[in-house]
C-alpha cells in the first residue's frame, strides 16, 4: 500500500484534492439540491477519468479496468444522487 502511494503520489494528491473540493462544494451548496447533483455528476466523471488516465500512464489499462472505474463511479453517483431526492 505504502509503495503504491509513494509510486503514484502525484496522482493520489490530485485525487485527494479533488475529493476534498467536492466535499466542501457539496456541503456548501446545501440546501440547493440542483447544485449538489451537478457537483455529484462532476466528481463521478472526474473519478472515471482519473482512474483511466492513471492506468494509461502505467500502461495497465484494460477494458475491464475501465469498466471497473465506470461501475464504481456509477455506484457512488447513484448513492449520492438518491440521497438528495
Amino acid at each position: 500500500m505504502k509503495m503504491e502511494l509513494f509510486k503514484h503520489k502525484l496522482a493520489y494528491i490530485v485525487l485527494a484534492g479533488a475529493l476534498l473540493v467536492f466535499v466542501f462544494a457539496f456541503m456548501g451548496f446545501w440546501p440547493n439540491r440542483l447544485l449538489q447533483r451537478i457537483s455529484i455528476g462532476v466528481v463521478v466523471c472526474f473519478y472515471f477519468f482519473w482512474g483511466t488516465i492513471t492506468h494509461i500512464k502505467t500502461d495497465t489499462l484494460t477494458r475491464r479496468v475501465a469498466f471497473e472505474y465506470a461501475a464504481a463511479s456509477i455506484l457512488a453517483g447513484t448513492l449520492l444522487f438518491f440521497i438528495t431526492l
Partner: protein
C-alpha cells in the same frame, strides 16, 4: 460447505473469482446500483400509491413558530434592521397556504391549479405594498431550517429585507405525498404606501411580480399571537380533514411521531451497501499484500478514498427542503 464456498467466492480473492472478490467486480457494482435505484424509488413513490404509511415514515420536528420568529428577527438584528411584528391576518394567510398545500398535495409557491401566493393575502384581507413568502419542509430543527434559508439568496432576501414590517408564520404537521412532515410557511408583508408589488422566494426571473390591485384598508399590527394546528391529512385519505385548531401560543410537534424518516431508511440501506464494499476492499488489500499475484484491476486505495468520501457525505447529509 456450499455456503462457505459461496461466501469465499463473494468476499475472498481466489482462483474461482479471478483473485478478486466477486463483490468488487464491476458487475457487482452495477447490481448494487440497480438495487439502490429500486429501493429509493420504492421508498419515494410507495407512500403515494398506498396512501398514508401510518406512523412509520415521516420527519419528526421540534420547530415552533416562536423559534422561527425569534431566529428571523435575530438575523434582521444582525443586519441592523427593524424586527418584524406578528400580524394575525398574515398568520391566517400562512396557515391557509399550508393547508392548501396539504389538501392539494403539492409543494410549490404556485399550486398545480394556478393558485398564487398572494391569493392567501387577499383571502384574509391583508393589504400590502410589498409581500413575500418562504417555505420549508422536512426539517428537524428551526436552526437547520433558518440556516438553509440564509444559504439561499432569494430566501435570505426576504428575511433581511428592510421593506417588510410584519410577518405571519404557520408551522403545520401533516401528510404530504404520503409522508408525515412539518410544513413551515413564512409570509412577509408591509402596509401599503407605494404602488403594490409582491416578491416571493423563487428563481430570480420570477422574484418580483407586480400585484394588480391595492386594497383599501390597512390591517392593524396585532400583538404577538400564534396559531397551533392539529396534524392535517388530505381529505381524500381521511374522512373529515378539518384543520384549524386553537388560537394562542403554539407548539407544533407531530402528535404521533413517525418511526423513521425516509431519509433515515435510505441512509441505513446505502451505508450497509457501502460498508460491505469498503470492508471487502480493505480485506482484499490486506490479503493481496501478502501474495505475489499479479492482477489487472482498479486501485483499491483510490476506491477506498472515493467510497470513504461518499460515506462521509451520506452520514452528514441533512434533511430539509426549502421553497
Amino acid at each position: 460447505m456450499k455456503m462457505l464456498s459461496t461466501l469465499c467466492h463473494l468476499f475472498h480473492p481466489q482462483r474461482s473469482n479471478n483473485h478478486r472478490p466477486k463483490v468488487l467486480h464491476p458487475e457487482a457494482y452495477i447490481a448494487f446500483s440497480i438495487l439502490i435505484v429500486v429501493f429509493s424509488l420504492s421508498l419515494v413513490h410507495l407512500p403515494s400509491f398506498v396512501g398514508r404509511t401510518g406512523n412509520v415514515l415521516g420527519f419528526a420536528s421540534s420547530i415552533t413558530a416562536g423559534d422561527v420568529l425569534a431566529q428571523t428577527n435575530q438575523e434582521r438584528e444582525k443586519q441592523g434592521l427593524q424586527t418584524l411584528t406578528i400580524n394575525t391576518r398574515l398568520n391566517e394567510a400562512a396557515i391557509a397556504k399550508a393547508q392548501h398545500m396539504l389538501e392539494q398535495q403539492y409543494w410549490a409557491h404556485t399550486s398545480p391549479d394556478g393558485t398564487q401566493p398572494w391569493k392567501f393575502f387577499k383571502q384574509v384581507g391583508y393589504k400590502y405594498s410589498v409581500a413575500g413568502e418562504n417555505l420549508a419542509r422536512d426539517f428537524g430543527t428551526s436552526g437547520d431550517m433558518m440556516q438553509a434559508w440564509m444559504n439561499s439568496p432569494t430566501h435570505k432576501a426576504n428575511i433581511v429585507s428592510p421593506k417588510y414590517k410584519e410577518i405571519g408564520i404557520a408551522v403545520v404537521d401533516g401528510t404530504l405525498l404520503g409522508t408525515e412532515t412539518t410544513l413551515v410557511v413564512q409570509l412577509f408583508g408591509s402596509a401599503p404606501q407605494a404602488p403594490a408589488q409582491i416578491t416571493k422566494a423563487a428563481p430570480p426571473q420570477e422574484l418580483k411580480v407586480v400585484a394588480e390591485k391595492l386594497a383599501t384598508s390597512n390591517p392593524e399590527p396585532e400583538t404577538l399571537d400564534f396559531v397551533q394546528l392539529e396534524p392535517v391529512v388530505p381529505s381524500d385519505l381521511v374522512g373529515n380533514a378539518d384543520v384549524l385548531g386553537g388560537e394562542s401560543f403554539l407548539i407544533s410537534n407531530l402528535q404521533t411521531p413517525a418511526l423513521f424518516s425516509p431519509l433515515q431508511l435510505m441512509k441505513a440501506f446505502f451505508l450497509a451497501i457501502i460498508f460491505l464494499v469498503m470492508g471487502t476492499l480493505i480485506y482484499d488489500t490486506v490479503i493481496m499484500s501478502h501474495r505475489n499475484t499479479v492482477r489487472l484491476v482498479g486501485k483499491n486505495f483510490a476506491h477506498l478514498l472515493f467510497f470513504g468520501i461518499v460515506t462521509f457525505l451520506l452520514l452528514f447529509f441533512k434533511a430539509g427542503i426549502i421553497g
